[in-house]
Amino acid sequence: MYTLSSKLKLTAIIFMIVGAIGLVIGFIQAPSNLDDVREMMAAEEHHGETSHAEEEADANFAEAEHGVLLDDEPSRNADEDEAHAAEAGAHDDEHLEHTLHQLQNKPWAAIYVAAFFFFMISLGVLAFYAVQYASQSGWSPVLFRVMEAISAYIVPGGIIMFVLLVLSGLHLNHLFVWMDPEVVAHDEIIQKKTAYLNVPFFLIRAAIFLAGWFIFRHFLVRNSRRLDEATDNYYFKKNFKLAAGFLVFFLVSESMMSWDWIMSLDPHWFSTLFGWYVFSSMFVSGITVIALVSIYLKSRGHLPFVNNSHIHDLAKFMFGISIFWTYLWFSQFMLIWYSNIPEEVVYFISRIENYGLPFFGMVVLNFVFPLLVLMNSDYKRVNWFVVMTGIVILVGHYLDVFNMVMPATVGESWFIGIPEISAVLFFGGLFTFVVFNALTKAPLLAKRNPFIKESEHFHY
């Protein structure tokens, strides 16, 4: 049996406390009204005069254009001028309000990104675990207890996600614009989608997905534990069927979950391969975390039956699924870039213009780095190479979620500052605590699995 070391426990708790403090600071720093925003922008103007000048030039240009159009109607011109001035004032206020919403969204979006990131890791691990059962793989049973422990986070993580969605539904934040009745009233595109995008149905769907995942995980793990004490393979067969059933449910629910929780942040935009794209991101992050936790436990002597061939296999999965992620990322990007249809392409224009570095940086982290480092068969057996690449992949996929959520919620007001880092620390600490606590609940070797002997002697 594994016992949670007090050092690890303390580290996780410190992470959570520091993260929680940082999040509180993030919420305090967020402006509460328009005056705050004005002050903040005035303070910023001293730093960024150029952007302001650009804005003014834009305004001048608009005014000039306006003037030209109306030049031949001098009588109306005076009226229009007055109206124009009023309009400009209103426009200024509108802009401020827009910025206010973005800045108020910032700590919420930071929590949302981090909560989803860690949740999707455990969900990805659960999917990987089910794939191992359904494919009756012979190499992985020695890692089943690690996978079961990581997937334990699905319950607290899923509940947190649900609470966040409920809070959005209660209009405590503006993460989902389609939840704002005022926005919907003026937006015909969203109006046509309200049959799907309405708060009660949205929450019911989320509840169904989460309940399904919780239940499947509960029974998969319970059968796996019971198999240890069993005298025949009854529970293995049961788990095989359960895993196959879960994978069917998972593929449908995960796809819809990605439309609901991520794609609906941009309710004017849609992409058909989005579900797959989010899936590949969670799958590769999940496999990476399995590898990292296994290497950590092995280095502490808790997994004597795991050899470097198992690590090699996990690293191969990290490598392969990283490329799969890139394939989907590029397919989505290139199809939209190539056809350049305005209603689709705004999604990428806003990302490239305002998120240039994170948007393209994540492709380097998620594709180029693992491609070059994990291509060599020998490197895949070297623990520190796998750990290093694993950390890079996790950072890359955090940025991936960041790029999916932030442009729709905080727009150009993004920054990776106190709220963002604190949210990662908080959920990272919680994740570590839950996962390593779950590891203490069962022996680290699944005893009676029919493939356990093969797995222990696995050699590649």
Binding site: F333, M334, W337, Y338, N340, M375
Partner: protein, 175 residues
Amino acid sequence: MASKVIHALYNDDDLLLQAVKQVREARYHIGEIYTPMPVHGLDKAMGLEPTRLAITSFLYGLVGLGVAVAMMNFIMIEDWPQDIGGKPSFSFLENLPAFVPIIFELTVFFAAHLMVITFYMRSKLWPFKQAENPDVRTTDDMFLMEVDVANHNVEDLTDFLYNTGAAEINLIDNK
């Protein structure tokens, strides 16, 4: 120089692997081994160097990448930068997504084909090549180990190979 070799035939790959280990321990020199199918772990038992074919493939892939980039850059950007359906042909980077499918395929094409050709050349395989099969049964169900006699006593060597479980032992004069 007329050297002599002994052909020891085995009818089981486990026996063969065992024999290879014993022959190497006894410091006899194994020339070649002929098997009807891949025997897992044979190269390790014989102490053969790992193949470098994968490394050549990676380098060929880089060549393919370079060829594709140079070609697309020259044709689409430098030589005749036309406006084709509004695609930005001003610089390579701006129009890169449109070139990626070609770059990818050419990388794979070069990596795969040149590696296969390298394999043929290194293992000396071509359509009208004379088969180098010492015993036709080795393509069906027998495993043949060729041991150099060199300056060893033929009698001792034969006895030794017999004890390793060889089903048949032939002394061959290499001309």
